[in-house]
Amino acid sequence: MDVITNLAFGFEHALTWSNLLYCAIGCVIGTMIGLLPGLGPLATISLLLPLTYSIPVDGALIMLAGIYYGAQYGDSVSAITMKIPHASSIVACIDGYQMTLKGRTGLALFTAGVSSFIGGTVAIVVLAFLAPLLGQVAFLFGPADYFALMLLGFVCVSLVTTGSLLNGLAMCLLGVLLGQIGTDLESGTLRFTLGLTPLVDGVSVVSVALGCFGIAEICRNLDAREERSPFNGKIRLMPSWPEFKRIIPSALRGSVVGSLLGILPGGGPTIAQFAAYAIDKKVSKYRHEIGSGSIEGVAGQAAADEAAARTSFIPLMSIGIPENAVMALMMSAFIIKGIQPGPNMIAKHPDLFWGLVASMWIGNCFLLVLNVPLVRFWLSIFKIPYSVLFPSILFFCCVGTYSVNNNLDDVFITAAFGLLGYILMRLSLDPAPLMLGFILGPMLEENFRRAMLLGRGSFKVFVTQPISATLLGAIAILILVQFASAVVRMRSGGFSPADQAGSADRDASPAEMIKTSGG
């Protein structure tokens, strides 16, 4: 019963007044940005990264984690009430919004809140048991294995977040190249700096994230010129007992699916929701109702969403390799705070690891209160017009960038990445894999060089190691399957709708998508 003593130890750390406060701040900010369009968790975490310099390590990480999983809660609220999907709540728009149309908004919100709570709780149990175990496995990894694992992550993220392997891989590789800017650590050569002094230390993560996700996103919203009408309907929150009973089985199924998919490379909330929704459609007792506003259609995906958001911390904290873009950003946060995530982290900083795990459950309780009884208050946030919101977001982008190095010139770099992000967006390229590539780039190069050194310059080193050979085999299979299906699709001619649905997972609202794809 190590886990229980460890968790108790974790709660001791998480239940101090200051950590409770940071957890609450993280959850409130997370819910807010989950609700509002224009700032996803990626942009917000990078905005707050420089502000956490003066906060103690555990508090800072608890707060940043709270923003991430808090945003998943907030998402579903705007999806259910107004059919505004962002970050990762496309699925909540289907049944959730249908329920609103039927006048059952309160029930949908209650279902989403409770299911998220269940999903989060299951995921924390998985996290507490699995992370230390997986950490043992990570000790077997050599440089070639790490290299292969990162490549597998790139391929999976490309497939999952963009739906197109070519586009996604292009973004990953572009990210890796951008990560090369600056001084080469081994030889001291200055690379790709264009002779500019601010680039000698490389581009800061904050600039890339705020440019590609903050500024580009603002322009996307401005181009769309949609005026949202705030939700004014009635909300009756408490469900009847038979309704409540229908939530539980779906939520449990969703939690399991979400926990599993959250661990896999490239996994995370988005794919977990789709999977949970599909499974509910197959096995639920009320499957005939799903799609037209049923409780199951909301409960399963909300639980999966929240569960995956938490279990995606497992690969980061036990192996040291983030599996999606937000986790990559969390890794930078760990490193900025002087902690190297990886197999040694749990042993070296048990207070931090178990404190973070325990804080996730406390955050769960905060979020349940914030999102169910207080949901009316959050809906009033939508009354703020976008013309007030976006200059403020721009200002926060400036302050966030500036305070990394106290250098105003960095704002120019952020602006340049804003332009890049906007161009990429107009080319239907998703910047999320770019972020992952950017943060993993230096690690990828280091492990590649080391593996090649050990293999005396021969590429055989990647196939003779059992772990890396298996991982590379998995990559080959994924690419072959993708290639084969592309050939089949071209033969049959024309577009398949799956093409479009795959690229829809990030924050494009359906209406916006129709606009961009139609010109």
Binding site: A170, L177, S187, R191, P391, L394, F395, A415, G418, R426
Partner: protein, 140 residues
């Protein structure tokens, strides 16, 4: 109007060429002892390959129009530029006011009252960051 798929292939190939050709100027070394240029060269070669495949593929796929609206992104970038220059030459306060003034041009409507109110609120926030969080902002 240009085909979005073709433009995407061209942009990716272009970026790959920029990085690849620059990487050639750095010491390449051997595979066993990689120099500074080897890894970027490998990565940009792969990226170039992807770009070319995208270009070729676009010939066989139905064309998608490529739309690019310069107005909003231009206004936003101008706003950021003005903020930095004003903050360097004069003060952060002026920078904030100009940032809000310029970027509000991208909104659907323009009102002086709103610009003023947002500016004042943001200056207050900046002041709070400086005094409470210890950020090096020098608002006053």
């Amino acid at each position: 109007m240009a085909n979005q798929n073709a433009v995407r292939g061209a942009v990716i190939s272009g970026i790959a060429l920029c990085f690849g050709l620059t990487a050639l100027r750095y010491p390449i070394g051997s595979f066993a002892h990689a120099g500074a240029g080897l890894f970027p060269l490998l990565v940009s070669t792969l990226l170039l390959l992807i770009g070319l495949v995208t270009l070729v593929k676009s010939r066989f796929e139905p064309a998608k129009p490529f739309s690019f609206a310069w107005r909003n992104i231009g206004i936003i970038l101008l706003g950021l530029f003005v903020f930095v220059v004003a903050a360097k030459v004069a003060s952060i306060v002026l920078g904030i006011v100009l940032l809000v003034m310029v970027s509000s041009l991208a909104a659907t409507s323009y009102s002086w009252k709103r610009v003023l109110a947002v500016s004042v609120a943001l200056i207050a926030v900046a002041l709070a960051f400086q005094k409470l969080l210890g950020l090096n902002l020098q608002v006053i």
